[in-house]
Symmetry: D2
Subunit: 299 residues, 4 copies
């Protein structure tokens, strides 16, 4: 991400000439400069939401051929262009975020087969807002969408194009508002043995990427309020995927010199859950003693 252009402020975008405006937003829509070019004339925008609504309207009101061309301008997921390094920098970063740059040969072959079947049926590439997904959920969506009718699927593809555009816009432009494209995952540990927040508990978040494989997403330690100083995930969509939180409870109670069994009945407590709403707020707390715990989707 080091080479990303610095974000530009909306009030500057409102003032620059049309060409600069179009350059600044180049790539928000993949290989479709006409969208941001058309938006230039609608300035000034009161907010980022206002700009996004305008862009959405331009896409929706475009003639069918142009909408189809917009969809066709996208690369295949995990396709040959990706393997050859011929993607836009946005697409490259996005596909990497879901691990599509680290597929096994079998997985690559699976994507290849799905891409072929999809092209054969619909005549355009499969588009999905990758940052809202893990690898498994992309495959699930791929298989499901293959069942759609052509018209439904074209609408679905355009909706994904707009989601991708919204995310890119939110990263490129600063304003007093932000687009509602971010989710949040947080936790909280209550020590119900002592009736207070559990401070100093190590917590790890893993994404479960297969039956037996997991990828460490982040680590944190709870503060005096039993929370992590920052959310475990925030400022981005939460990829639809399966996760595991690991709470290092045994070490916490051992340090407090609470009487424990040897080995302790509970040590590292795993909590597995799936995220299904990338823009949602997931709060997954733990209420624990050395002998019991509860967890739930909180708020």
């Amino acid at each position: 991400m080091a080479t990303d252009p610095a974000p530009i402020a909306l009030d500057i975008l409102n003032r620059v000439d049309d060409a600069s405006f179009a350059t600044a937003l180049d790539g928000v829509f993949e290989h479709a400069p006409w969208i941001v070019e058309a938006a230039a004339g609608h300035r000034p925008f009161a907010s980022l939401a206002d700009l996004h609504t305008t862009l959405t309207g331009i896409v929706r009101d475009a003639p069918p051929e142009q909408r189809l061309a917009l969809v066709r301008g996208h690369p295949d997921l995990a396709g040959k262009a990706a393997r050859a390094g011929n993607l836009t920098s946005d697409s490259t970063a996005e596909q990497a975020s879901a691990g599509l740059d680290r597929l096994s040969d079998d997985e690559y072959a699976a994507f290849h087969r799905l891409n072929d079947a999809y092209h054969a049926k619909f005549g355009f590439p499969f588009i999905v807002c990758v940052r809202r997904h893990g690898k498994e959920s992309i495959l699930v969506a791929f298989a499901r969408r293959l069942e759609n009718t052509p018209q439904t699927e074209l609408d679905t593809a355009l909706a994904e194009v707009l989601r991708i555009g919204a995310l890119r816009l939110d990263q490129r432009v600063t304003a007093t508002d932000r687009l509602p494209v971010h989710g949040r995952l947080s936790t909280h540990i209550l020590d119900t043995h002592r009736g207070r927040p559990a401070e100093g508990v190590a917590v790890e978040l893993f994404e479960l990427t297969g039956a037996d494989s997991a990828r460490l997403v982040t680590r944190a330690v709870t503060n005096a309020d039993g929370r992590t100083d920052a959310p475990l995930l925030a400022g981005r969509p939460l990829p639809t995927a399966r996760y595991e939180l690991r709470f290092h409870l045994g070490a916490y109670f051992a340090k407090l010199e609470v009487p424990l069994a040897d080995p302790p009945f509970l040590d590292v407590v795993p909590v597995r859950f799936a995220i299904a709403e990338p823009e949602g707020h997931y709060h997954v707390p733990l209420l624990a003693t050395p002998w019991s715990y509860s967890t739930y989707r909180g708020s």
Copy 2:
């Protein structure tokens, strides 16, 4: 276990001649027939507990040299005799129960080093009642006991000899009583979404044998009362080890057509815990909705 001799009833043992009595109990103490021979004269025994108390007394009252010889008569754990297949059938089955017959080269080397250090310090082999342990807990016990003084360690070794004998006795002899050498692990699933026992939930029990390795111990499905028809573990000591129960909750609620997220927030719920009392009763229930669960050491 197919070639194990059939158990013999205590009231028969009380009536047969001394030689037959000794033969029937041959091997309850490893390479030490004098213990059961001495017990023959104390008959009749009112109960298995009575017989075991008598055997324990004979060991405790034996002269020091004989007690030391008893200890020395045991094989090394995961030692050369084991590798060469030169153990008694009891020892072979016991060592296999903790996976000592399936060690990696590194693990074998670790046992080898510990055996050498132990012999060098104490002059007799390391004895532990293997059926009460997993591989990890044997290694923990081994390292801890190396710190003991010779006298404490000789007492510890003899206590383990008596534990091994009690287990073998309990398998060989039937009586109206049983020796208190058995633990029990059970579970129970309450569906607190619907306020009733959760029927038809698949449950798996794994023993965690390393940082990333697990061994399936048993599978079951809950009945109309939310329990498994038989305990998950029973009729033997519970090996001191780390375990993971996996409750297939997502499939259960999906079958009931309860509204779920996609993917469901909770699917396979893992509960990790350790057993520290091989003769204890561990009840590990789950109270669950599609969005929350609690677990605890129950009774």
Copy 3:
């Protein structure tokens, strides 16, 4: 209850002459000796269930006038006959079980009005198996059943007659089986602070008889398994009513010298619930620390 006749064994009932049989079962159906008289010829009965099925069939197959007379033979609930002491001993005991002998003047007037309206609409007295109800739930049923059509209500009344008969039969006759007329309420306290059953906790069960009134039903103290030695309610239908369990948790933890706030955060923990299935099994456990608790309908 002191003057209740001793129960008689089914195999004796199967052998005595018809008159003795009828006498033994006199009163199982209020003022309707013809039912048990007709049953005498169906002997022998293999079980109490068999006898009950036969009695039910006799009632069901009786001509309409006789069925109506059976219903009309019952006294009013909390009516003039009750106030004057002119009920059968069964009816007296039953009405007392729901507190109908201890009504306030307002409550008596309410029953009086309902009885009048019911007689006016249906031409027979309101019959309900009182032992399955608390005072509140009788009033609720009374008001609801006033909405029924005459035919539905006659069927309902006969069903209640058969329920009353089943309960009386179950008390009068011993056999290897019992009729499924009994419910059960039990509890269990887990101390999740220490990971073991909570022993020695005082528990009280109250029936909530009004907005601010409660009647102590029973008291108990938990044993070493965290349970009460006997169920809180058993061997009878559980009256449909609101209840409150009070768990004396503060005293329990104080005795264990667990560090507590002063006054303790939790002291007497009330759990309010309603019973809606008189023949059901209600298990209402408590999982508690000095700072938290959970309760649920268990099994």
Copy 4:
């Protein structure tokens, strides 16, 4: 409270003449104008905390006779002056806050006896910061403090004088800081049946004022986040007392058309707890389904 003087800003207090300063803070210490008079010369105060520290120092450094006089200047709790209406307006409002103006004759007699015993032992009136207590906890403190030595009790009384002064000061003077004299009680309801906050649940908070008596403190309804818009108690010390929260859960689930028993297993859920730290934050959440709930001291 309608006639309370409007609070005055600290920066104004820092600028007015000495006499106006003393007048503005008149009554912060009962019948002891010398304390605020002495503080005037220490101006300007950087914060309310700074002013309070200065006042505390003046009291601590005063000669013993003056400290004793300060204590002796306070009225009896629930004493003759209170009954006759001869208290300062601050004292009147404070004693009313704990219900000391609504004592039964028995309670009044109990206070009278304790006041007499206390005067007899210590020679000064019993002083307690009433706003930090309920009636029961005042009586408990009264009885306990009667056991103190005279010196300990004089220190205790002065500490209470300073607490009373801090509270009055915090009400009288506005500044960028506030004194740490406030507690907070909040709640949060999670609907774990549906995995989201429970919106629209009526909640009542009662103070339990005797074995069978309760006083409604406040009512609220949960918002879309399952919380009440404002804390249940805040902006004041939380009186040390026993409380009961009543959550109207049955009505909430009935409105959602969740299948319930009739009557519902859970309807109004009472949670009883005590507050022992008047300046603490008590968060008492409820996690509930129609068949289960958990509560705990959270954060």
